[in-house]
Symmetry: C2
């Protein structure tokens, strides 16, 4: 059992990186997509089914878990890994993003943020120190600093204020984290869509020193081209020997674009949420199985997919399950989408190793653009 | 591949029977519990997960499937087995029970029943002939005659009328079924809670001649003791060389009592429905995981269970999943309940073979009565 956390950069191709994170709970091949296990479960999937899609690591939501079942309770039950029976690495967010997006009556001060639960209205406080404490109670392997994430577009003054607050919270998070060699702590780059603010944020975080660097404050309302521009500006400012994690992103073309711009890690609820709504991601792009065109179609989603669920069930059956709102429809499409996201990352890893990421990306985008097979 | 349907009585113990149904799609060990795949899926479970609980055969609902996706559509897609990817035997009901319980504006005549769909109000007709046709389109292996199932208590005159109509429909069903040696057709005994009516029904069905005999019109509002009394009266009237199927029953103690009274086959939505509502069946009886007593309980449901899901997840985790209404909670508890039902049947089979069913039943009831393990 390895007792330390480390990142190894294995290959590069342009800005893109192929790497490996080693933790005592197992390794994470990068670029990596992390399925989201919001309240201690990836919705609609057993943990071994998630692993079988190719996932090396899950994300847990501090905000949701601190409310239900509670961090101290999870700790008393042996930590999040035992609680949900996922023995591989877990990354947790700081809780800040959900506090900002889900709660009412919240109050932000230098100390932290107080808010009322979206479930029962109970009062809670989240500070940089308490966020680290909660994530440690959950027994997270990769911990995020508390930051303030604001929407885009925002005023320059507001972006600067939130970035500077996040930087002060970064130092407090580092102090609170202390010496935990078997865990990793990430600082979070903020600064909205402004290159100068982002640069100051990155410089400040580097001088504090973290095991990894997250890129926050993106996918918060801006066009994809703005997100890609910010990524292209910021990843060269980050240490090459630490992993970079683009938080809360995204759809497959966001992920491919992020990989091309030097991002190592991604997470998003989109694949499972889209699956519950009847949308399937395959090499043909996104397919809406609610559409009546599938009603009598005996063909599988993609008969050449490496994923058995893409080959064994007809489009007509999947359409039927979604239309009748059967759980199995959400279960199958969540599995299909997470599996496709992993295939996308696996393909990118192989391409980066071979120095052919541009070809891989062009080919992938071409099949997306060609769209689904013709109506029967 | 065997082309014919057959039933072999392997052992008896008192009234209880241990048998095997052979079909060209595989064998069914009896006593058998058939999970219900209402609209082409056992709710919350992949077909291989259902099989792994020990199920040899599924039940499909003609009423639900004729409305969505439609029998002709299922046939065009290769039949229900391919549609849902369950390659073992399937038994279908006639649709009559759901027409009576779910629809409005229905009209019953000698010819059949007309009704409006509970989904969209569309008009449909179900006759004995059409029911056989639909079940054949679904490619069912074990087909039910259309019958009229009435609630209990009912007037004697009404029970007699429904029983006699069901008998006339039995003859029409037999005629419509024709010669299909790879399928089985069941007649359905009706007659309410009256022994004389039940006896006339059984005699009438035997003189028509069926591959199996179902017992309908029970679990329709009567106390368990009435159901058991009717079973004790009717199973001796049925041929010993054909399987007997008690329709829509029940909870574990109903099933154990049915086995003791000579029933070979059971089906019920109860195990999966109870699972979705947070109820787990184990050797300790039924456990309500919504109850706060489980909130901090690190113990599994039953650490000695042969079912891994009963051992790997804590009660606290299952409580959390149910309270947060996560799909995985319903998925796990449905699996646990179906698995327990199969364990109950497997135990009964072994006991009947050994001539020890009375001991097995007493021991099983004693552990149910002892209840759950003490609060921690």
């Amino acid at each position: 059992m390895k007792s330390d956390y480390s990142f190894t950069l294995l290959a590069t191709d342009g800005m893109a990186r192929r790497g490996r994170i080693d933790t005592w709970r197992g390794d994470v091949q990068t670029p990596a997509f992390m399925p989201v296990g919001t309240v201690g479960t990836v919705k609609g999937m057993y943990p071994e089914q998630v692993r079988d899609t190719g996932a090396d690591i899950l994300l847990g939501n501090t905000y949701h878990l601190m409310l239900r079942p509670g961090a101290e309770r999870v700790a008393a039950l042996g930590g999040l890994h035992d609680f949900m029976d996922w023995q591989r690495p877990i990354l947790t967010d700081s809780g800040g993003f959900q506090v900002m997006s889900l709660t009412k009556l919240r109050k932000l001060t230098e100390k932290g943020v107080t808010f009322r639960s979206h479930i029962d209205g109970s009062a809670h406080e989240l500070t940089p120190e308490r966020s680290i404490e909660i994530q440690t109670l959950l027994d997270s392997d990769i911990i995020m600093q508390l930051d303030e994430c604001i929407p885009l577009p925002s005023e320059h003054k507001e972006m600067e204020r939130a970035m500077e607050l996040s930087l002060r919270w970064a130092q407090r998070s580092k102090d609170a984290f202390g010496n935990q060699p078997h865990r990793s702590l990430h600082g979070i780059v903020q600064g909205g869509d402004n290159a100068e603010l982002r640069g100051r944020s990155a410089a400040g975080l580097k001088s504090i020193g973290f095991n990894g660097y997250s890129i926050g404050g993106l996918a918060v309302g801006e066009p994809q081209e703005v997100m890609f521009r910010v990524l292209s500006e910021i990843t060269p400012e980050l240490p090459t020997d630490k992993p970079r994690y683009l938080m809360g992103v995204g759809k497959p073309d966001d992920i491919l674009g992020g990989i091309e711009r030097g991002v190592d890690m991604f997470d998003c609820v989109h694949p499972t949420r889209a699956g519950r709504h009847g949308h399937a991601y395959t090499r043909f792009g996104v397919i809406n199985l609610k559409n009546a065109r599938h009603k009598d179609d005996p063909r599988p989603l993609d008969e050449e997919s490496p994923n058995p669920n893409c080959r064994r069930f007809s489009r007509a059956y999947l359409h039927h399950l979604i239309r009748t709102e059967e759980m199995l429809g959400a279960m199958i499409l969540s599995q299909i989408n997470l599996s496709y996201y992993q295939q996308l990352c696996i393909g990118a890893r192989t391409a980066i190793e071979a120095g052919t990421l541009a070809d891989y990306a062009a080919q992938t985008r071409a099949t997306w653009a060609a769209g689904d097979i013709a109506v029967i």
